[in-house]
């Protein structure tokens, strides 16, 4: 009897005195698809949030209105702005579905570390929030771009980056957590994906963008941005970003254009290889405080396109293409590394981390000015390629045509 009474009081207290404090009804929330940080006057920061207009995503209704709404507020701290957002918006913003955060170039130049803590501390944000830098445009402008296929450019971006990374290894999905990891790592400098807003005409009209086939406004991936600590210092173009990816574990596959004949002056023909798998192995040594880094890249792929007259059924021709593709990868990766060494002297490749794992004691001595040592490091690249298929055809019809000509 007594127990039942006690239990009754206990359960009633549990249920009615505690619950509901963080309950939000579905019709009171706004799903935030993207956030943007811009510089504002007086050293303040401008936070822009883009909420999805759920009605435009409803099943069975063709989109006709704006698929999202953007609000901007300026102030000193992001969390304060997030709390204040309801002075312009009627619903409670929820950030748990935010995948994209865009930072403007100007703010990145100033340094971004003070703005990142809130995203790591606030439990609403995901750790895999992708952070991107907006080149040549304000970050908030990216949020106004619409996409006929995905509704909002921010929704398109996360898919776009996944696909681009998968097919071409063009840009790494730098997520917030990786960025911060790289920032605090002594053997690596952070990198961030870069996007830009392509405006065909000057008409700034986001909803008519939805009616166009050839988009007026579109968000494009342009490579990556190099950071020295938390400050933006320079860019990597798409080619260099791809070459950078060869040295990373996240490498997924790309496409190689191997010239048919080297040193030919006329307009060149190419054999195109789709690289399906790539693996890199790094061995490091430290000799007299000079790091020696040997990178072995192995990849495999299939021939996808042949503009040459060479007969692909011959083993010699295939060996030739393999050899050429190895040189191509070797040269381009070496070029990119040399470029970074000379131009920036920043170890964005994370070689320092490998050295730390492999030669811990030596690295401890070099750690404090690793970037200097990276600048002088001897870096050798060795490439092994393996081509295991020629696609649907073995011999190209071009081979036959050229033979007839002769």
């Amino acid at each position: 009897m007594n127990i039942i009474k006690q239990l009754f009081v206990f359960v009633t207290a549990i249920v009615f005195l505690t619950g509901c404090w963080d309950a939000k009804e579905l019709n009171d929330i706004a799903i935030i698809a993207g956030i943007a940080l811009d510089e504002a006057e007086n050293g303040e920061i401008m936070l822009s949030i883009q909420s999805m207009n759920q009605k435009e995503f409803a099943e069975g209704e063709s989109p006709s209105n704006a698929p999202g709404v953007m609000y901007s507020l300026q102030g000193n701290s992001i969390s304060n702005l997030m709390a204040k957002i309801n002075n312009i918006e009627g619903r409670q913003p929820i950030f748990s579905h935010t995948r994209i955060m865009i930072i403007s170039e100007s703010i990145a130049k100033r340094g971004i570390k003070e703005y990142l803590d809130v995203f790591e501390r606030n439990p609403e944000f995901r750790n895999n929030l992708i952070i991107l830098i907006a080149k040549d445009s304000r970050a908030k402008d990216i949020l106004t771009v619409t996409s006929p296929t995905h509704g909002l450019a921010t929704l398109k971006l996360s898919k776009q980056m996944d696909m681009f990374h998968k097919n071409w290894s063009g840009i790494t999905n730098v997520e917030l957590i990786h960025f911060i990891d790289n920032l605090i790592s002594k053997g690596r400098q952070p990198l961030m994906g870069a996007i830009t807003l392509k405006n065909k005409s000057n008409i700034d009209d986001s909803t008519t963008n939805l009616q166009n086939i050839d988009l007026n406004q579109n968000v494009e991936l342009v490579g990556a941005s190099i950071f020295k600590d938390d400050k933006y210092v320079g860019d990597l173009n798409l080619e260099n970003t791809r070459n950078y990816s060869w040295t990373q574990t996240t490498f997924n596959g790309t496409n190689l254009e191997v010239p048919c004949e080297e040193n030919k002056l006329k307009e060149e023909d190419y054999t195109s290889i789709k690289v399906l798998r790539g693996k890199r192995n790094i061995n490091t040594k430290i000799v007299n405080d000079k790091p020696i880094i040997n990178i072995t890249i192995s990849g495999s792929g299939i021939i996808q396109e042949s503009q040459c007259s060479a007969n692909l059924s011959s083993q010699d021709v295939q060996d030739e293409i393999t050899r050429k593709s190895e040189t191509l990868v070797k040269n381009s990766v070496e070029n990119t590394i040399n470029f970074i060494q000379k131009e920036y002297g920043l170890d964005i490749f994370g070689f320092g981390e490998v050295v730390e794992r492999q030669n811990y004691k030596e690295f401890k001595k070099l750690a404090d000015n690793w970037d200097e040592h990276f600048k002088n490091a001897e870096i050798n690249v060795d490439v092994k390629m393996y081509i295991h298929s020629e696609g649907k055809q073995v011999e190209s019809f071009i081979t036959n045509l050229d033979e007839e000509d002769e």
Binding site: M1, I4, K5, L26, I29
Partner: protein
Amino acid sequence: MKWTKMLFTREKNSETKSLSTELDDITENVKSIFKDIESNKKVLKSLFGETIDFVIDDVQLGKRKGMICYFNTTININLLTDVVYKPIQHSNEINLNDGIEKLEEVVFSGLPVAVTDTYRDIIKNLLSGHIVIFIESFTKVLSIQVADVEERSITEPTSQTVIRGPKDGFVESIHTNLSLIRRRVKSQYLRFESMTVGDDTLTSVAICYLENITNEDILNDVRKRLNGMKVKGVFDSGVVEELITDHPYSPFPLMFSSERPDTVASHLIEGKVAIVVDGSPFVLSAPTVFVDFYHTTEDYTNKYFFASFIRIISYVAFFMSLTLSALYIAFTTFHYELIPTLLLVSFQVQSDGVPFPAVIEILMMELTYEILREAGTRMPRAIGPTISIVGTLVIGQAAVEAGVVSSFVLIIVALSAISSFISTDYTFSASLKLLRFFLIIMAGFLGLYGILWGWFIISIHMVSLKSFGVPYASPIAPFILQDHKDAVLRLPNFKTVTRPSYMKTKKTNGNKSQDGSSSMKEGDNWS
């Protein structure tokens, strides 16, 4: 708290005198049968009063006066004429000086005849379809069973149907039900024990078990509980179940009730005790474990991998019927991060026009469904289809179109309602419903944390239950690996030759097959 006391203490003394104690009183007063017919007639008349179906017929038996009495509502009149009146007419030569037993041997040989000498037995026999023959100057009487009660023929079970498998079901007559069981289990060890329960109804109840298998402790427990029952009327096995169950306050049924003789037979072979109640087509079997409620006859008639697949689906359905509605509430009011973005958006579109919080929406629809279901069950058959029209069209479609509920809520409620019926036992699915409401309220207040607490409480309760000494959650908790051959999954029949070890049977290996092929083998040896 007077009401709690009333609720939680069992009623001890009944206010009116029960029939069985009355019978004792009668036999106190009238110890033995009078030699004089007229005195006996007087006693009987005072006992049964002016009821129109009680017949006292004076006859001449040899040279003595006799009297035949019976209730014409419980006996077969044609049979009575054939087996009693006709032989009596030719009984003049019989010398009755040798005693009344002589009559039994000569005139009524081959009939179910009993010789009794107390009024207590006479009353009982008369009420259960016997005729009683009094003869002058004898203090013993003959009672002959010529009972005949109109009964339903054996039909297909209505609540536990199968596609492939036996189609016969129990009926209301205890005799037919016992014969159905005996027909399935042709074992010389099959025992039927009879007892009478219900102070006012004197219902006969039979305990069935296999003497060579069933654990003695379980059997004694069943006997003890049935004898200790205090109840006025027993009209169905449900009454018995509630009175002898281990935990009457638990929402889970601790005894399995089945309409199917084959299910009961397979339970008997597993070492369970079946309780057949006269007047009820539902036979109880005990002890029962949780997994029994998800085993069907068809599990054994189908291929084992398909049966295992169906069982897994059933357990998924069990979890769904309990938690699906609660999960919807938790996800849409507390944990948006757990839903994919596009799904969340379409949830949001749906609930945009709905003015109520999700928990109210769900509770509203659950209650509507319960009302519909209950009305559909109680309604006269002729207007049954009205319910489905009202249910699907009016409540379902119109409620969504009117913006009272979102169509996702409708899907969720419908799915959890359907899932609850996958159990073979209706009582079990009814108890799931109550637990579902409990979880919905927990989720409404505390989100996933609440569901976690709810499940925590339910699981603790479930593993604490025992049915006649057998842990309710076995073979899952306590985990018994060897019994998993036929628990969550079903291995092929040739792999499942042992009986469940949690039943603590006398013999551990024996054939579990349902057609009693083990006794067939023994039969072969004898021939």
